[in-house]
């Protein structure tokens, strides 16, 4: 690794999809970028189900061929078991011609980071950003000083830049420093997940196929409501090339009631998996990967500001909701695009920085609010942000609205959507395209 620069136009914190794409877009526009990641890639990351919307951002970054050439699993859609009803959704029914993917995120993220490096961004791995000084960010020439530390060394150094992009994920370096993060107190969830080898999977025809068929018969992402979950809790089953990711999204209160203090997370997780008959059929010949169980607490949050003088928050650093509709990576990529575009505008018209930032903030917040409104059960029309979500919905195509509506229908969350959308056409298209699925008995 070459010496850390002393100055650059933009410092990007984090080398996930949001950070790597922001860096790639910005270097493409001619700006100098230094990207810091406290880990070394490839590094583990959960969140393996990707919607076909990723491709337009990959096209824009010139990384489509590298992603397509990797040979990730192409999926056919989703199979959803909710309160005793099994239904499916295929992206092709909604006019999508490009595939949705199941990816090993360590590899997917590495490809995006390598693209950022190839585009000319300076990439510093195993460097932790400590904080940023924004006291001169509002001067004519915005200036921000960012403190960082090489993880193997003790002493901190500083780099100067014009803007900071915080794509540090759930760590939220800048959001935390500035006290911007707001947790959804009414939605106290956590997630626990692990990996199984040789799991069977559900295809779009409702048939269960063995793991070895995954290249011949595309899988679906299988999602199921959990029996005691009150319509909130659910599990995912995402088959990858070598293994299968299975995770639970559950109210913290439920975990407190069901998990004894001496029971390990692994034992508790496996006990929950055993309680779901269809999952047990998929796992009949599977082997649990010992030591693979991980968890995240404090699940759902947003930021009361996503931009300010000298900074922009992207992806999970800006907000995170129940991942039931797999929008996380798409939102990261979208916010990366929006930030790069806005920073370019700010450089070109520095006296209109506040206006450009305000457009970024309202668009990104609206999009985040739309995700919240679709993902959070019991989201209320009176909740702050509902008007923003409506506006974001209004800015969505009929096709995109139909897909969102269909997804919310599958998980009994369509009440949220009904208060949001005005498009009877999208409504009808969604209802027609959600199909009942018969799973043959053994």
């Amino acid at each position: 690794m070459s010496t850390v620069p002393e100055f650059c136009d933009v410092v990007v914190i984090g080398g996930g999809p949001a950070g790597s794409l922001a860096a790639t877009y910005l270097t493409g526009k001619g700006y100098s970028v230094a990207l810091f990641d406290r880990q070394k890639h490839p590094r583990y990351q959960v969140g393996e189900s990707l919607l076909p919307d990723i491709w337009k951002y990959c096209d824009e970054a010139g990384v489509t061929d590298a992603i397509a050439g990797e040979g990730f699993i192409r999926k056919a859609g989703g199979s959803v078991d909710w309160n005793g009803e099994m239904r499916r959704l295929s992206f092709s029914d909604f006019g999508y011609t490009r595939p949705a993917l199941h990816v090993e995120r360590e590899r997917f993220d590495q490809i995006l980071l390598e693209r950022a490096r190839a585009s000319g961004a300076w990439i510093g791995e195993e460097i932790a950003v400590l904080d940023a000084d924004f006291s001169r960010a509002e001067e004519d020439e915005s200036e921000v000083s960012v403190a960082y530390r090489l993880v193997r060394e003790d002493s901190a150094s500083r780099i100067r830049c014009r803007y900071v992009v915080d794509a540090s994920g759930q760590n939220g370096v800048i959001g935390r420093q500035l006290g911007l993060r707001v947790f959804d107190e009414a939605f106290r969830f956590m997630s626990v997940w692990g990996y199984f080898d040789n799991s069977s999977y559900l295809a779009a025809d409702g048939v269960i196929y063995p793991a070895r068929s995954v290249r011949q018969v595309p899988p679906t992402t299988y999602v199921s409501a959990l029996p005691q979950g009150d319509g909130w809790a659910w599990l995912w089953h995402i088959i990858l090339r070598e293994t299968t990711s299975i995770g639970l999204v559950i109210p913290i209160a439920w975990v407190q009631q069901t998990k004894g203090s001496v029971e390990s997370w692994e034992a508790w997780f496996l006990r929950q998996c055993e309680a779901i008959p269809l999952l047990q059929r998929l796992l009949a010949h599977a082997t649990f990967c010992k030591g693979s169980v991980r968890l995240v607490r404090n699940y759902s949050y947003r930021s009361h500001r996503v931009a300010g003088p000298g900074f922009f928050l992207l992806g999970d650093a800006a907000g995170f909701v129940d991942p039931i509709f797999s929008v996380g990576v798409v939102f990261s990529m979208y916010s990366a695009y929006a930030a790069a575009h806005t920073i370019d505008r700010c450089f070109r018209h520095r006296f209109r920085r506040d206006e450009h930032r305000a457009i970024f903030s309202s668009q990104v917040q609206a999009r985040l609010e739309l995700s919240r409104s679709l993902a959070l059960p019991y989201y209320q029309a009176r909740d702050a942000g509902h008007a923003q979500a409506r506006e974001a919905m209004g800015f969505s195509s009929t096709q995109a609205q139909a897909l969102m509506y269909a997804a919310s229908l599958l998980t009994d969350r369509s009440g949220n959507f009904d208060s949001m959308a005005d498009s009877p056409e999208a409504h009808r298209a969604a209802t027609e395209r959600v199909r009942p699925l018969e799973i043959p008995r053994d």
């Binding site: 695009y337 505008r345 206006e355 309202s362 800015f395």
Partner: protein, 95 residues
């Protein structure tokens, strides 16, 4: 405002979609096409369209003007642009 001027505005706006590849060169985006519902402008396209309008017509779009009612059709956009050009013209006259 003359009809000719209107046509120029519509032509310039329509060229955005050809440039972006969301509409084929021979396909005309009519003044009343719902460019959002049709997917000609998406969440990414809206940023590009704002920049395009600002640069092509030398106007500035304020954050509180980025609303569906101003961006749903080329006619709505034309109305916004003309309003801005008119008020800029008046300012020049009074100066």
């Amino acid at each position: 405002m003359t009809k000719c001027m209107d046509e120029q505005i519509f032509d310039a706006l329509a060229s955005f979609f050809v440039q972006e590849g969301t509409a084929r060169a021979e396909a005309v985006v009519s003044p009343d096409t719902d460019i959002i519902a049709e997917g000609l402008v998406d969440s990414v396209g809206i940023f590009k369209l704002i920049a395009f309008v600002e640069e092509s017509f030398t106007v500035t779009i304020q954050p509180n003007e980025v609303l569906l009612e101003n961006f749903q059709t080329l006619r709505a956009l034309r109305n916004l642009i003309v309003k801005k050009m008119d008020s800029a013209g008046e300012r020049q006259v009074t100066l």
